[in-house]
């Protein structure tokens, strides 16, 4: 699980082009959206594609993403429970 969390942080930084942020700066329970990392709805769509491409998880409704992408912890838990690849 901690490996997955590390991997997610790296992917988020790369995929969303967060040049000025390092992996160590993202805590597992930091909120990713709003106050925390400051991600927005376009980032959420990017993350949905990442779930599909890298973990074989398809979301039909972007609203489902809100809960899943709350923090690295929630993301990792969801992926662990639902991954197909």
């Amino acid at each position: 699980m901690s490996e997955l969390k590390q991997e997610l942080k790296e992917k988020i930084i790369e995929q969303l082009n967060l040049e000025d942020i390092s992996v160590d700066e993202i805590a597992n329970d930091d909120p990713l959206f709003g106050q925390g990392l400051g991600l927005d709805s376009i980032d959420a769509l990017e993350l949905i594609v990442m779930l599909d491409k890298d973990y074989g998880i398809k979301l039909a409704d972007p609203k489902e993403g809100r809960k899943i992408f709350e923090s690295i912890n929630t993301m990792a838990a969801y992926i662990t429970a639902n991954r197909t690849t």
Binding site: D40, S41, I42, L45, I48, V49, D61, P62
Partner: protein
Amino acid sequence: MGVLSAIGNTPEDNHASLISEKAGISRITKIDTIHKNEIMVGEIKATNAELKQQLGLSLDLPFSRTALLGAVAAAQAIKSAHVQDINDCRTGLISGTTVGGMDKSEQYYYDYFQNDRHWGHINGLHAGDSTQKIAAYLGLEESLVTTISTACSSAANAIMLGTRMIKSGLLDRVIVGGSDCLCKFTINGFKTLMILSDTHNTPFDENRKGLNLGEAAAYLVLESEEIVKRRNKDVLAYVKGYGNANDAFHQTASSDDGDGAVLAMEKALKVAGLNKNDIDYINAHGTATPNNDLSEGRALLRIFGKNVPVFSSTKAFTGHTLAAAGGIEAVYSVLALQHNVIYPNLNFETPMKEFDLIPQTQLKEKKLRTVLSNSFGFGGNCSTLIFSKEA
């Protein structure tokens, strides 16, 4: 006026489909996309070859579909306005498009490096190319010919600019509108935004699932009062008001309370010198995305309060035709004025939980004097046009 859409090849055809509730939404047949079973579109039936034939163009001429659809609709508009010689006064052409020649660029993207068969399309990618070709087809020379691309409000803004140019005395006549064809670029683009419905779109419905893309072209011929008087011409309608504003909220989404839309409608009412109670019908943008319909609905409530005029979205008939939407809906607004009818908002079942706005779901006959038409696009671009029977 000239129009080409999924529900007809002339204004008359479009009107006939609108009053008989004949939608033009189907599965996609002309583009081979892997999403073909997940989306529905408003496709124009004519093939490029048929359009070229209709225009009398040689089949090997490198015209994008946007240019072909535009040329057909613009030529129709010129004919219906009884223009004999397009260069007999200061005439301009202002067209809106978003995809331009993207249909060909995506088709031959790598092909260009294999052989020279389609090199004619290389310079057709830029959006101005379609407008330039339409102008050449119409025989327009040494004139103001330009293109506006403000996403889904492009044609509305072309109409607005043309009106302002005539009012300012810079032009005597101007052909205004827009054209956009379907292509993989927009299908996949809207797919990534997860706002494409897998079934018929349902504007202003609580359970709306997103939009259907469509393709269309529509143009109107605007003429100065002087030309109209001098030539003793019939006037179909007047562009009475217009307003463009920016939501300045998000790159693609509209603000929750519809700030930009409110500003655009306020500006248009002010330019028209009309009171909000003077609006008889609203042809809403109503794309059937969760975000648009909520934002637009709230904006309507902010402007009109308890007395929101009868409104409907015609997107369930045509799909969302992007840059052309403001053009075809301008044509529909004028047709509504001419026929004194309000076109139905198809597929509406359940009112949205956020408010109790209910669109007009049945064809309604009503004496109309003014119609307000909204068009909103990416980049927070919000436009409103008001058409009236009287000057």
